[in-house]
């Protein structure tokens, strides 16, 4: 099976707010995505997903490493890459449309830019407008559309070109529940029946599990795990964690927790306005719920609450990799 997207040590730095420090947005990412694969990039905000997608669609030039899309280098053969991709940036919330054009004219304009033959473009535009329930509003200016409607126009625009590789950044953001379900079904069908390669980013682990053949989990610019949703959810289920809210010295609290035999590792220490939250991975949640307040009490810390914590993916995978990244 051919490779649709391949990155080798792909790295991108950006300047920080001060202009002096260097932030690693994408950190030596190695990925190999097969043709016809539905591939998810999962991770919290700032994980580097959007930058990675933007590099793949030639919008951002990488600093180190290489990336190939449909066999073409994203820097050297950018124009050829652009002939093979459809791109959607859902986070813009419909900003990236011409608001002073109608939905149909927006699509017509992009059909011209994509060199789609006019007769095919006309049929496809009508069909996509109907599928996304925009037929009635097709000739209204986009400025009068709701965010959800704008998002549907953007989806239609991305699919219009019939590109073999779809790079989609948060494609279901802003859609209502039904719209999101229909869109997911269409994307799945495009992938399974037309063998399109879909690379999409999401915060939503459930969406990723349902759609993807494989998922890469990103954190702080690194890919920390790549696997099938089934394998990843097995890993998630093994995680046991608690969240402790208390008043008093954070250093003291960390020292106490690290001394308890059932605490595996401290995941995060988050100071709030008048208390602190510590998340920790434990071997036994029940024991943690009863023992931690006692241990804090004897050391003069006031426990506000202890509860079982659903882990963030980042925590799970950092836990699994022992804080080290594992690129696949």
């Amino acid at each position: 099976m051919n490779t649709a997207v391949e990155t080798v040590n792909l790295t991108k730095y950006f300047k920080g707010d001060s202009g002096k420090e260097r932030i690693v947005a994408v950190n030596h990412v190695n990925l190999s995505i097969r043709e016809g694969e539905f591939f998810g990039l999962l991770g919290p905000n700032g994980a580097g997903k959007t930058t990675l997608i933007k590099i793949l669609c030639t919008l951002v030039i990488p600093d180190e490493g290489t990336a190939k899309v449909a066999g073409f280098d994203v820097v050297k053969d950018a124009e050829k890459v652009r002939e093979c991709i459809g791109w959607l940036h859902g986070e813009t919330g419909g900003r990236a449309l011409y608001w002073r054009l109608s939905a149909r004219d927006n699509l017509r304009f992009y059909a011209y830019l994509q060199n789609i033959p006019p007769d095919i473009a006309r049929k496809r535009i009508d069909a996509l407008l109907e599928f996304f329930e925009l037929s009635k509003d097709a000739d209204r200016l986009v400025k009068d559309f709701s965010t959800g409607m704008k998002m549907r126009v953007m989806l239609a625009r991305t699919l219009l070109s019939n590109a073999p590789i779809l790079l989609m950044d948060e494609p279901t953001v802003g859609l209502d529940a039904t719209g999101a379900i229909e869109t997911r079904r269409l994307l799945q069908a495009l992938c399974k029946e037309l063998r399109k390669t879909i690379v999409f980013t999401t915060h939503n682990i459930f969406e990723a599990e349902r759609l993807c053949d494989r998922i890469a989990v990103m954190s702080k610019g690194k890919v920390i795990a790549v696997d099938t949703p089934l394998r990843l959810s097995e890993i998630t289920r093994k995680y046991r964690g608690v969240e402790v809210r208390f008043r008093g010295s954070s250093e003291e609290a960390v020292r106490i927790l690290e001394g308890l035999e059932f605490v595996k590792r401290i995941m995060s220490v988050q100071p709030e306005e008048d208390y602190t939250v510590i998340r920790a991975e434990v071997k036994d949640e029940e024991q943690a719920l009863s023992e931690i307040p006692k241990a804090f009490g004897t050391n003069g810390l006031r426990t506000i609450g202890v509860q079982i914590a659903l882990p963030s993916l980042e925590e799970v995978f950092l836990s699994l990799t022992g804080g080290e990244h594992e690129s696949a």
């Binding site: 991108k12 950006f14 300047k15 947005a25 930058t51 933007k54 669609c57 030639t58 919008l59 951002v60 030039i61 600093d63 124009e79 652009r82 002939e83 991709i85 791109w87 940036h89 813009t92 900003r95 990236a96 449309l97 011409y98 608001w99 002073r100 054009l101 004219d105 304009f109 992009y110 011209y112 830019l113 994509q114 060199n115 789609i116 033959p117 095919i120 049929k123 496809r124 009508d126 069909a127 996509l128 109907e130 599928f131 200016l141 625009r157 699919l159 070109s161 019939n162 079904r185 269409l186 069908a189 495009l190 029946e193 037309l194």
Partner: protein, 292 residues
Amino acid sequence: MNQPEILRLFMVEEKRSKSSLRQLFAVVWAQLKMMLAYKSWLIMDLLSTFASVVMYYFVGLQVDPLQLSRSGWGTSYLAFSLVGVATSNYLWACLTRLSHSIQHEIRGGTLETIAVTPINMLMFFIGLTARGYLVSLIYLVGVFIVGVYGLGAKLLFTPQSVLMFIIIFMLMLISNQAIGLISAGIIMVYKRGDPLVFILAAINEFLAGVLYPLELLKPFPAIQFLSMLFPYTYALDGMRRILILGASAFDFNVLTDIVVLAVFSVILVPLGLKMLGWGYDRIRREGTTSSY
């Protein structure tokens, strides 16, 4: 339309032939459609065309014809100012339109969605500029019609003078657009340069002598020297010599203006293209194609 029907539409064989002209047409078409969506702005703009010409007609009544003729530009201030007023809109379009449009595209997030299509970005930038050119053309024709046929300004429109006017006018567009490319490249990177470009255009308009003969600058040699640094100064001089004084293509002053404008173009166009390319590459390196 259900999902299987959509999928069938995507199974159709399609042959795509890349046509830069078709893409350019699409950009111009979209830009014009958006412009026409601002109906009240369009009406106000047309009204202002007539208002400005009428205003210079009345200003002209106050100008001493003798003093104007001593500067060598005939006796009609309306004719003198008409050439400046009609073409100055193009000066603004050349210098400010592209950088302003690019900023608008960046702010709107549309630059990114266009940059990921197979369009050659230079074609897209040309398309963005075309809108300003078309609006300015309406203004230029409107000003000449109102001035010449409505208010009786004496300008010489013969086949030869129109041809010469067009040659100098094209050189004016090329040389000034090159400056526009440079500023667009810089503004793309630094984002907030619009006021600077507006100041540059305003200074350029003032120093080139849109509304007064440059001979009036003689007591101020430094300012007169500055005025010689802008291509628009030579373009205005040449266009006025042709339309007001009836100078031929072989007139020494007209030829000098043409040569200077050509030299400006030869130097500035490659520099402008390089700066535009630099700006576009830089925002792709910095990841600021949608930041403002």
